[in-house]
């Protein structure tokens, strides 16, 4: 399949508007403005596009809730707070193909009746910020953004909002709080952002990769798009592979490519010919899979059946030398640091889990610690305000399910069995 998101990225000037236009850029915006917003929305529904941020919610449905709400103004927010550890799939779009995102957002804004869009960009991507700001300036000069886009009387303005190093702001209501100038703590739902979002108005929050699909849907139509990749969640997908593989990187493949193929065919297999031990398939918040469970389709429907989640498509590959207790401990250190502190199960739970894991890893594990980990994770799961707590608990539950013996060995031997 011809590359879509990563088309032209080997061109060193791929972020320039003229280079983007040379490969057909912005012609789909022009086509979209010749359609009625409702027609585009129907194509998005037909396409079967699902949100690429991790939740996999059908985008057409989300959009129709916002369109149905008569309140104006509506806002379009792009979630570029790519913070899920292991994830670096949006970075090539932001740094190498920013006009694809801008074109996608302009089409989305027109479809939704939103005149203002904001890209909430994580603070750790300073280079992407400069590139994106430069691209927006060029798009304004070419009249792809502004008060009268391509002379069609359509208004859409775009600005970049820089986050400041809080993972939780990738959660859509926390993102909204943050762009309103507050601490990034999630809101209670309902009301959902599509009805009461940023500045109390209907707001659509979509991931970078999701919005970047719009030019393709407009170009080939929802029907043809729905034939790419998995039947239940179609489209091209960016998978990012890190850890012990020969060729780590971002791979654009049809949604539903098998995890095994991603690792062995595309990422070159296990580094140095070592033995595979485990894979975290969708970013650190998704449950680990042992080596014998990777023959599964990487999409939103198949991965839960395989015992994990697609998440952000961030595949972390670990060979036999990796200590699973240490990985779990490091993951929980992360969740404890990033817990926003709003709800008790997450704030206290991540702290407890981290402390217990720390002592097990350091050879001070006690009898009963494994049961205690299970208990605390079980109490957290499904009871936190937002998915951060579920992610933290799920990591521990998954690790204990598949690698319980390593935890037991650590406690029994009173030291890390991997000498790390």
């Amino acid at each position: 399949m011809e590359k879509y998101f990563l088309k032209n990225i080997d061109n060193p000037d791929s972020a320039d508007v003229n280079e983007y236009m040379k490969v057909g850029g912005y012609k789909n915006l022009s086509k979209a403005l010749g359609m009625q917003p409702k027609e585009i929305l129907d194509e998005v529904k037909k396409s079967g596009l699902r949100g690429r941020g991790g939740a996999g919610f059908p985008s057409g449905m989300k959009w129709s809730f916002a369109v149905a709400d008569p309140k104006l103004p509506k806002y379009l927010l792009c979630n570029a707070d790519e913070g899920e550890p292991g994830t670096f799939k949006d970075r090539p779009i932001l740094e190498k193909n920013p006009h694809l995102l801008i074109e996608g957002m302009a089409i989305s804004g027109y479809t939704l009746g939103a005149e203002y869009g904001y890209v909430y960009l994580r603070g750790e991507y300073p280079k992407a910020k400069d590139i994106l700001n430069g691209a927006i300036k060029q798009a304004v000069e070419k009249n792809f953004l502004g008060d009268n886009i391509l002379g069609k009387g359509v208004k859409f303005h775009l600005a970049v909002y820089q986050g400041a190093g809080a993972y939780i702001c990738g959660e859509e209501t926390a993102l909204i709080e943050s762009i309103e100038g507050k601490k990034g703590q999630p809101r209670n739902k309902p009301p959902f952002p599509v009805n009461v979002g940023a500045w109390a108005m209907p707001t659509i929050v979509n991931n970078v990769e999701t919005l970047s699909n719009l030019p393709l849907i407009v170009e080939i139509g929802g029907e043809a798009y729905s034939k790419i990749g998995s039947k239940d969640c179609p489209g091209p997908k960016l998978y990012c592979v890190s850890g012990h593989v020969e060729k780590p990187g971002v791979f654009e493949l049809p949604m539903g490519t098998s995890l095994k193929d991603i690792i062995y065919k595309h990422a070159g297999g296990i580094k140095g010919g070592k033995k595979l031990k485990a894979v975290i398939p969708g970013g650190i918040s998704t449950p680990v899979l042992p080596a014998d469970s990777i023959d599964c389709a990487m999409d939103f429907v198949s991965m839960p059946k395989a015992g994990s989640m697609l998440g952000s498509g961030a595949v972390i590959v670990m060979d036999e030398s990796v200590c699973m207790v240490k990985v779990t401990y490091r993951a929980l250190k992360f969740f404890e640091h990033e817990s926003c502190g709003k709800c008790v199960p997450c704030r206290e739970g991540t702290d407890w889990l981290r402390k217990i894991l720390e002592r097990i890893e350091n050879g001070q594990g006690r009898e009963g610690d494994i049961e205690l980990l299970s208990d605390v994770a079980g109490i957290m799961y499904g009871k936190t305000f937002c998915p951060l707590g579920d992610g933290a608990a799920g990591v521990v539950i998954g690790m204990l399910k598949h690698f319980r013996n390593e935890f037991e060995e650590h406690i029994k031997n009173a030291k890390c069995i991997f000498s790390c």
Partner: protein, 154 residues
């Protein structure tokens, strides 16, 4: 107080949002750039400029890891130790930087040259271990690479 140029810059940011409070994060970045870190003076400047209660400005600033509540060195090293970097030995690199440059996590070297912060994933997992020095990305790090890179930051 901020000078005229900075006030104009903040005004332009405010104009992009329906509510002035949205300018808070961008203004904190500006204050950090102007003052080097978010001192009491810096926070007061932001509060006055945006006409927001100082407690609110302080509360928001304290929530975000990238807003600095203490002075930082001339160069800020932000090194990732999350799982993808950890399995390639990022923690050993923290120790190396500590030994070689006399700077511990969340600290500053005595000569004021470097501050070090441990990061939670900087989106460079495929080229781990990775760090940012100020706003520049460096990937595929080793002790030797770090030494070479940091030579460029006096």
């Amino acid at each position: 107080m901020f000078n005229e140029t900075v006030l104009k810059e903040i005004d332009e940011i405010r104009a992009k949002y329906p509510d002035r409070k949205s300018a808070l994060l961008p203004s904190l970045y500006i204050a950090q750039r102007e003052f080097g870190w978010l001192s009491n003076d810096a926070l007061q400047c932001v509060a006055k400029t945006l006409n927001l209660p100082e407690a609110e400005v302080r509360g928001t600033a304290s929530f975000y890891a990238m807003f600095k509540n203490r002075p930082v060195g001339r160069h800020l090293i932000q090194l990732c130790t999350n799982v993808s970097c950890m399995i390639f030995g990022a923690e050993k690199l923290v120790d190396f930087i500590g030994r070689k440059y006399g700077v511990q996590p969340n600290g500053t070297s005595q000569d004021g040259r470097f501050s070090l912060v441990i990061m939670e994933c900087i989106g460079a997992c495929g080229t781990a271990p990775a760090m940012l020095v100020n706003t520049d990305f460096y990937e595929n790090l080793s002790e030797n690479r770090i030494e070479e890179i940091l030579e460029g930051y006096k």
